[in-house]
Amino acid sequence: MNILWLQSAGCGGCTMSLLCTQTPNLFDLLGDAGLEFLWHPSLSEQTGAEVRQLLAGIEQGEIALDILCVEGSILTGPRGSGKFQILSGTGRAMLDWVQSLAPLAKHVVAVGSCAAFGGVTSAGGNPAGAIGLQYDGAHPGGALEAAFRSASGLPVINVAGCPTHPDWVTETLLLLAAEELALSALDALARPLFYAENLVHHACPKNEFYEYKASAEQHGQLGCMMEHLGCVGTQAVGDCNIRGWNGGSSCTRAGYACINCTAPEFEEPQHPFSQTPKFAGIPIGLPSDMPKAWFMALASLSKAATPKRLSENAVADRIEITPSIRNPKS
């Protein structure tokens, strides 16, 4: 299958992340699966006129397009024109290009939360009018209509994340190449379930602290970051702590909050990213699918039962009290 990759209004970080693909490297992995880039703005040789000819060939139906990958949000400003991003050399807004090319592709993949929902490019009053391919924030309907289906019959596949994990992108492409990605393999926001069926909380190394509500109070401390430091890993989809990033790490493993970057509208949490909003001292954003009363009851019980090892380690920058060792049997 061939892939046309366009970078619309984003940071390019999903491509940079994609290049971190390992065992094997990106080019071998895709090549072995029969995937090839028609063009990629960071990786291909062709520039300028060569690319314009290629795009014209696709638009005129001379070249069949298998997968259109779009990285970055789609800008609608100023005043609906999309001119805040002109695809250079073409005089046409990226909005126009995407609307023209998407119906020609067998599959359309939104790479990253910007392309999926608007993402960080739509933060802070959204000065450039950024939207996603098929969503405007959490609302269906973006640069493409909510009813849009590509030639394969699938909606835009939203490989959300900021950035995306390289495996989320490559495995989506590999599943498409193998014709094994059905609608049932996507969640309600069209994110592939192979990573969206997990929560960032799963396999988080701070889980034992979480169980006892032994919380970090400041950055650099080991405890759970849900109560004070803005962590929403219990609500965020992603297998970050199961799969691991860049050799097996993750945001929470590095001591800072999960900000739910796989979700629409994560860029405007309505509170400072690294501070947990509270009402009467109690965090507002409790785990999404747990009855609040139960959570409160369990939390107060577990807080009361917190072992000293956890309460002290939670506010230390390294393990101060190690697990106790059982006495030998006599």
């Binding site: 880039f37 990786l43 291909s44 250079s88 650099g220 860049n246 790490s249 493993r253 390294r318």
Partner: protein, 477 residues
Amino acid sequence: MTKRSLIVGPFNRVEGDLEIRLEIADGHVAAAYANAPLFRGFEMMMLGKDPMDALTITPRICGICSISQSAAAARALGQIAGQGQTSQGALASAILHGVENMCDHLTHFNLFFCADFARPAYHGRSWHDRAQARFTAMEGSAIRACVEARAEILHIVGLLGGKWPHTLAIQPGGVTRAPSARDRIRMASTLSAFRRYLETTLFGAPVEAFAELSSAQALRDWSRGDAGLFMEIAADLDLSAMGPGPGRYLSFGAYPLADSRAFAPGIWQGGASAPVNSAAIREDLSHAWMHGAAAHPAQGATHPDEDMKAPAYSWCKAPRLNGQSYETGALARQIIDGHPAALDLAQQGASVFARVAGRLLEVARTQILLESWVAALKPEERFIQEIQLPKTGSGEGLVEAARGALGHWISLREGKISAYQIIAPTTWNFSPRDESGCPGPVEAALVGAPVGAGEDTPLTVQHIVRSFDPCMVCTVH
């Protein structure tokens, strides 16, 4: 005289969106106009936000300079607080930042820049078969080796910073994760493996041997590894005569540690260096699609002209220091730090060759620095301290991204961000003309470049533009 105009775009293998308009007379570029055709408005997004949110949002300006943006924001906030990183926190930040810059240089050399030498247009050159084998886009053996080595060294960012890009590990008071003795030896091992890559593939010799080259001629004479292949190609294509610079170089100084910066800050012109006076920076808006007057970034604002009226032709503002354009990047950094081979290159004048050679020198030096920084980590010490931000204040964060001088200027009022301005390296290098009509560095560098009669996307223009390693997403932000 024959005249024609050309628009070069989409201009790929640069980070972000770039369009170059050329006026061509008698087979040479007579005038060039660099357009950054993407505007997102990050400076506008920041207004009214909690100051610490800058650490989450501004790295997402750019997926290739993400840690640089984060370091600049953290430093500006630290200056407002009057408190900085602990000395070990600064060291860990330098390691994170150094790995990103190293990766950016390698990505540029292999994937972005050298891929052009594999083009069919160079068929018949004595080196073309080897360039094709090594540098063909997505296929060449050097391209594969590069992405594998890059992914491995980024494990250091994983270990210290969770992920790359877009880590939140760098804070005004230090870093969020204190490395252990075990972490330190893992990072040292990763660096040993990376050294092996550099020494077998890029340099074909100990990194010290390359880092210690003391003249431009010694660089040109280097014959080993992919660096040697580049030197051979550069000589044959006379890349030293291609793409001159303004001869004025700027560096804010890279890697602020407890005592000093690992690469010195300064400006350099005509053999003389001087301190950087950031108060003398102005952003000129005469040819940018922006409303307002020229201002220092601490007083500046971002009001896009939605009508995109002429004579403006880019979303990029035009930063000037003491009223003049400056070139920034690895070459500038090495000149200002006093590296003898870089100084020699500067005496001969900037060029496509000098920019790439300067970057290679920095790769070798950065490997040595990274090893020394990892060895200097003291796991028992404090890696972060809490800082208290005042409700009102202003600060500047000056750092060096791979591509050069990066500054964040932040003002706070009533505990919220009241002004935020950013000048990125490529804002300097790819600025449009200023009020006096003076072109930005790349616009000037392109003048005189030969353009073949049948060329619609001239190769010399591509070499010159890519020699700067532009990052267009940072440029306008």
